[in-house]
């Protein structure tokens, strides 16, 4: 028994396009999830009790069920309610919605961390709500929100592997295909496991760097 990584590495074009696709769905899914999550958290804060309660339900449902089931429900069940999506848009949509549910909770905690006095002071000075969000709430919660957001981005990177199960040509799918054709499935999996590992470590390093850069804005403890 011997392992031969050369046959896999000789397919580098296909592998690289798989890696590029993984990074693409990861970045787009994470950014869309973060924006959507922020919108949901903001709606919960300013939309009144009814909106707040109504939005709790989808968040809990998404957080309480496996991403794989959500993905299958959207991709295979969607066409039955007139939502026929190709694999890539379906995967991106599922990933964004899944991420949004977690980001909504991260931003909710962020909103709660800002002392009410700061918001009240801004209101007294005549700031509009948009100005308060942009100039008071966002900067003050940024530092608190970064570590869990980086964590969530890392979780989403690993979830992108599941998109291979609905045939999005990202790196798990590309590597599985090459591995099966070349009778080197194990080598293919070891190789992409290493790529995921590097990407995850890189995301962690970038996150800590951002945290350090922003830490000079940390408020003095009263």
């Amino acid at each position: 028994m011997g392992f031969d990584f050369n046959v896999i590495l000789s397919k580098q074009d296909a592998l690289l396009s798989g890696i590029a696709m993984t990074i693409f769905v990861w970045v787009v899914g994470t950014l869309a999830g973060a924006v959507l999550g922020f919108v949901v958290a903001t709606a919960r804060r300013y939309g009144g009790t009814l909106v707040d309660k109504a939005l709790t339900v989808p968040i809990e449902v998404i957080r309480g069920t496996p991403f794989l089931v959500q993905l299958f429900l959207l991709y295979f069940g969607g066409p039955y309610i007139g939502l026929s999506l190709d694999a890539l848009p379906a995967g991106l949509l599922a990933l964004s919605i899944y991420g949004a549910a977690y980001f909504a909770e991260i931003f909710r905690a962020g909103y709660q961390s800002v002392p009410p006095g700061h918001v009240e002071a801004a209101e007294c000075l005549g700031f509009t709500r948009i100005q308060i969000i942009r100039n008071i709430l966002l900067p003050e919660m940024a530092l608190l929100v970064i570590p869990p957001s980086v964590n969530m981005a890392i979780i989403l990177l690993k979830e992108t592997a599941l998109l291979s199960l609905i045939t999005v040509p990202e790196m798990t799918m590309t590597a599985s295909a090459i591995g099966s054709q070349e009778y080197a499935f194990v080598e293919a999996m070891v190789l992409i496991a290493l790529v995921y590992w590097v990407l995850v470590e890189l995301a962690g390093v970038l996150g800590r760097f951002a945290e350090k850069k922003l830490s000079r804005y940390r408020l003095a403890k009263a």
Binding site: M1, E60, V61, G64, T65, P66, F67, L68, V69, Q70, F72, L73, F76, G77, Y80, I81, K158, E159, T160, A161, L162, S164, L165, T172, S176, G179, F185, V186, M189, V190, I192, A193, Y196, W197, V200, E201
Partner: protein, 214 residues
């Protein structure tokens, strides 16, 4: 969707609960051993523990399962899907639980460890009778959280051929062409199991005494 189909899903969810429970428990034992390796003075053990935790937290569970499932026949081992699923999930959750436990072990008051040393406990005795129970108590909320994550992650063992809730749903969809109803029902069952675990966890946390003086 008929009750017959829903019952099939319910039956398959027993396999989900079984695989998750066994994996969480094996994972917990592995995590304690990893923590012991990390706390020990032996450097290669510490390296191994760090590598293990970093690798299994840094790669997708799906890739780990596919790797394990295909690696075993290559190295000449034939084991049933159930065992592959449990090994894969246990190893993955061990890495996460060990990382959680690290925080717990750091929270063990040094005074307690020192008094155990003074009382003549060997390092191994101190570890099992003082550090582990306190670390476990401190990380109980994280452990319950991990249990819920593993219940959801167990949906991935469908790729190694074990008939659990998600795999049963896939099979039923293939024969009935009712993906909406079936996947929604599977989701509902996962949701209910998770709610039960979360509620039971909160009860348990409330009943157990805290650590140290309040």
């Amino acid at each position: 969707m008929s009750w017959k189909l829903f019952n099939l899903l319910l039956e398959a969810s027993l396999m989900t609960i079984f695989v998750s429970t066994v994996s969480i428990l094996i994972g917990l034992v592995l995590a304690i051993l990893l923590s012991a390796a990390n706390l020990s003075g032996i450097r290669p053990l510490r390296w191994f523990s760090k590598f293990f935790i970093s690798f299994f937290r840094g790669t997708p569970l799906l890739v780990q399962l596919l790797l394990l499932y295909n690696l075993l026949p290559v190295i000449g081992v034939q084991i049933p899907s159930l065992v592959v699923a449990i090994i894969g999930l246990s190893i993955c959750t061990a890495a996460y639980q060990a990382e959680n436990l690290r925080g717990g072990f750091e929270g063990v008051p040094t005074g307690l460890v020192e008094s155990a040393d003074m009382a003549g406990f060997t390092p191994v005795q101190t570890f099992w009778h003082i550090r582990v129970p306190i670390a476990l108590r401190l990380t109980l909320p994280a452990l319950i959280n991990e249990a819920i994550l593993i219940l959801k992650a167990s949906s991935l063992v469908s790729v190694v051929g074990l008939i659990e809730l998600t795999r049963m749903a896939q099979n039923l969809v293939a024969s009935t062409f009712m993906p909406l109803e079936i996947y929604a029902s599977a989701g509902l069952i996962y949701l209910v199991i998770n709610l039960v675990v979360a509620t039971a966890g909160r009860q348990l946390e409330r009943r157990l005494p805290g650590v140290g003086s309040k």
